[in-house]
């Protein structure tokens, strides 16, 4: 589904990604783990074409990502911040972002119905976004990401600043989306969260990346934490 081939990215003197290769399979949940500032968000930005790699190429469905416009329809991106308009209602936010993807009116309505019900936002559809609780706002953010029915959903620290109950709720939501055939790439620095949610994990440290299957980790009776520590030490 997504391939990063020899991708490097630096900001000034800082090498964020150093000649990395990564393959993300369709329908899987890939967790990217790394310490703060390791380049997780940069990696996601490279995937959507918001940043350009200095070297290498990013392929989405065998199509090279040259800019946002040729791959935007594939991606839904929920950032760490709530990417919605606080002064618009839930429905207005969703309709607006759906509108940006040039969907037809009935598709917008259908997607709104599906997404809002899926994410339990339907009852709150006429409430201003700023009036929603933190959990609901996070749901709205995810809803805004998926309103155009993308095949790949990128979630940047989806559980950051959430209480344990909301985290659990978010994990369930991610699994729910995955169950609908979406490819999900999420970043986190919480190991246990990724262990319970992801099919694969990629450890990002010092510009290098290592992808491991959670099944393999579990089979080796190891833990993600150990794998992570080993990679960081190495």
């Amino acid at each position: 589904m997504i391939k990063l081939i020899n991708v490097s990215k630096r900001f000034g003197e800082n090498v964020i990604l150093d000649n990395i290769n990564l393959h993300i399979k369709q329908g899987k949940i890939l967790g990217i783990i790394g310490i703060n500032g390791s380049g997780k968000t940069t990696l996601l930005n490279l995937l959507v074409g918001h940043h350009k790699p200095d070297n290498g190429s990013v392929l989405v469905k065998s199509r090279e990502v040259k800019n946002i416009y040729n791959v935007a329809h594939f991606f839904g991106f929920a950032t760490q911040d709530g990417c919605f308009y606080p002064k618009l209602t839930v429905k207005e936010n969703l309709q607006y972002f759906a509108g940006l993807y040039n969907l037809k009116k009935h598709d917008v309505d259908k997607n709104f119905e599906n997404v809002s019900r899926l994410l339990n936002l339907y009852e709150k559809r006429d409430v201003l976004a700023e009036k929603l609780s933190a959990g609901m706002q996070r749901r709205l953010d995810v809803a805004c990401s998926v309103i155009h029915d993308p095949q790949i959903i990128l979630l940047d620290e989806p559980t950051a600043n959430l209480d344990p109950i909301l985290r659990k709720e978010m994990s369930n939501l991610i699994r729910l989306l995955s169950s609908q055939g979406k490819t999900i790439v999420l970043t986190s620095h919480l190991i246990e969260e990724l262990e319970g949610t992801c099919h694969d994990v990629a450890i990002l440290h010092n510009g290098k990346i290592q992808k491991r299957s959670m099944r393999t980790i579990r089979k080796s009776r190891s833990s993600l934490e150990n794998v992570f520590k080993k990679f960081v030490k190495a």
């Binding site: 002064k87 940006l100 805004c144």
Partner: protein, 535 residues
């Protein structure tokens, strides 16, 4: 793409309207401002302007001037000293201090000193103009009075001279006649012959000898007759008569000789007299000739004076006192302050709304957390710019529509296609300028500051604060291309002078050129999107 554009505009409008303060500003601000301005400036008077007045001694003229100012709705206060009056201006108690000279009179000092605060330069000219009207009309009345006196005297002189001219003419004629008479008399005298000559008279009475011979002949005849005796007696009687006649003739002769002597004497006297008269008359004739010259000279002078007087066509004192009267008339029939302010007001609105609205929308969007989602959406950011443009334009037009709607209560028929085009062009220009400011600003506050600075600069270099004619030529040539000036000037011509659109074609082209330049700048700022557009 159109659906995307509509979605962006709807979103922007909702965001603007959801903010209570913004909504209030958008709807109520123009209403409030235009109502306030309409109520305040829909007249051509100056109300409540305070004038301090001082004079050591007020005269009729100075009192009359003060009354005129009061009649013109100025709030005039007579101060106790010139210092209080002048300090009143400094302290802001008066807008102008008028110091009248002591005993203001046309025969004395007539300079009235006005003390003004030049920091309020626009007000100063307004007040001075208004006061000058009062002063000049008073001054004009005084001049008219003085000229009237002169004219009366001139008229009297003219009448007297006209009257005298008749006498002088009559005198001249009479003098000439006298001269002629004198000349005739002199000629007569000259030709008068006083010579009488010695008596050439003769006494031709028949001699007594003839008579005696005749009587003798008669006696001889008669001797033969009986009547001789009677004839002798008759002869005696004749002799007696003859003697008496002779005596009488002798007497007469001697008397005649006596008379002749007397006549000679008288003739001599007459001759002397005539000689004397001749000399006198010659003197008179010379005098009359001299008088004639003088009278002619006086007559000429009188005629010249009269010609001069009659050549004065202006005989009305008002016109002599004010041969050139100034009448400042509005070139448009609409003369209230609101009328003259309306074009500037509309462009001012368009400028502030356009620049502030668009720069705020751009920076708010840039700083919005939702912006990232717009960035990663498959939408050209130029379309976002277009959406922001139409949002700003919509808001600006709503406000202008409110202004026009409210203004139409004060005066009718102000809307036209030309006005619409000018407002659209000016709005577009300022909105694009706002976009540029928004794109280069890093924060909303910075954008607001920059917008206000740019708008204030535009305002400063326009006719609103100081006439641009007061600027140096080099700066004036630049300032006349100030978008605010272009817009205001165009709208002024359209609204106040009802000109057609082609009359302001130059301004329209300038506005369009600005718009094109700004679009290019925005394209450059969004060069990534430009690449996308041409790819």
């Amino acid at each position: 793409m159109f659906d995307q554009l509509i979605a962006i505009i709807q979103k922007n409008l909702k965001l603007v309207m959801r903010s209570k303060s913004s909504a209030l500003l958008i709807i109520l601000a123009p209403l409030l401002i235009i109502l306030l301005i309409g109520a305040s400036f829909n007249s051509s008077n100056l109300y409540g302007l305070k004038i301090g007045a001082y004079s050591e001694t007020y005269t009729n003229i100075s009192d009359s001037l003060v009354r005129r100012l009061i009649d013109k709705e100025f709030d005039v206060t007579k101060t106790e000293s010139s210092e209080i009056c002048i300090n009143g201006v400094k302290e802001g108690n008066f807008h102008v201090c008028a110091i009248f000279p002591e005993g203001l009179d046309v025969n004395n000092e007539t300079t009235i000193n006005f003390w003004v605060d030049y920091s309020k330069i626009n007000l100063v000219y307004l007040i001075l103009n208004s006061i000058s009207e009062g002063v000049s009309s008073e001054s004009s009345e005084l001049s008219t009075g003085l000229v009237n006196v002169l004219l009366d005297e001139l008229n009297k002189t003219e009448n007297e001279l006209t009257l005298e001219e008749k006498y002088i003419s009559s005198l001249s004629i009479k003098n000439n006649e006298n001269h002629e008479v004198t000349r005739h008399i002199l000629n007569d005298i000259a030709s008068f012959d006083t010579r009488v000559g010695k008596g050439s008279y003769r006494w031709d009475a028949p001699s007594s000898k003839d008579l005696e011979s005749k009587l003798a002949e008669l006696g001889e005849v008669i001797n033969d007759s009986e009547a001789g005796s009677e004839l002798n007696s008759l002869k005696d009687e004749v002799d007696s008569y003859k003697k008496r006649i002779k005596i009488r003739l002798d007497n007469t002769k001697s008397e005649l000789e006596l008379y002749e002597n007397r006549v000679d004497h008288k003739v001599e006297e007459t001759k002397d007299l005539l000689d004397g008269m001749n000399v006198g008359l010659l003197v008179v004739q010379q005098g009359l000739a001299g008088d004639s010259e003088d009278i002619l000279s006086i007559n000429k002078s009188t005629n010249l004076i009269l010609e001069g007087i009659s050549s004065i066509q202006l005989r009305q004192a008002e016109r002599i006192a004010n041969p050139i009267t100034l009448s400042i008339n509005p070139v448009s029939s609409k003369s209230s302050h609101l009328n003259s302010m309306l074009p500037a007001l509309i462009i001012l609105f368009v400028m502030f709304v356009g620049i502030l609205m668009s720069s705020t929308i751009v920076t708010r969007e840039k700083k919005s957390k939702a912006h990232f989602r717009n960035v990663i959406a498959p939408i050209n950011s130029l379309l976002m710019v277009a959406g922001d443009y139409f949002t700003s334009l919509f808001v600006a037009l709503v406000q202008i529509a409110i202004i026009f709607a409210v203004t139409s209560f004060f005066f009718k028929g102000i809307f036209s296609i030309g006005v619409l085009i000018t407002v659209l062009l000016a709005s577009t220009l300022f909105i694009l300028l706002g976009f540029i400011i928004g794109h280069v600003s890093r924060s909303e506050e910075g954008a607001t500051m920059a917008s206000i600075s740019v708008a204030s600069l535009s305002l400063l270099f326009s006719d609103i604060i100081l006439p641009i004619e007061s600027l140096p030529v080099s700066i004036k040539n630049i300032v006349k291309f100030n978008p605010f000036v272009l817009g205001e000037e165009s709208l002024k011509k359209l609204l106040l002078f009802n000109v057609k659109l082609d009359f302001i074609a130059d301004n329209v082209y300038a506005l369009v050129s600005f718009i094109l330049v700004f679009i290019i700048i925005i394209f450059v700022l969004k060069r990534e999107d430009l690449k996308w557009l041409f790819r």
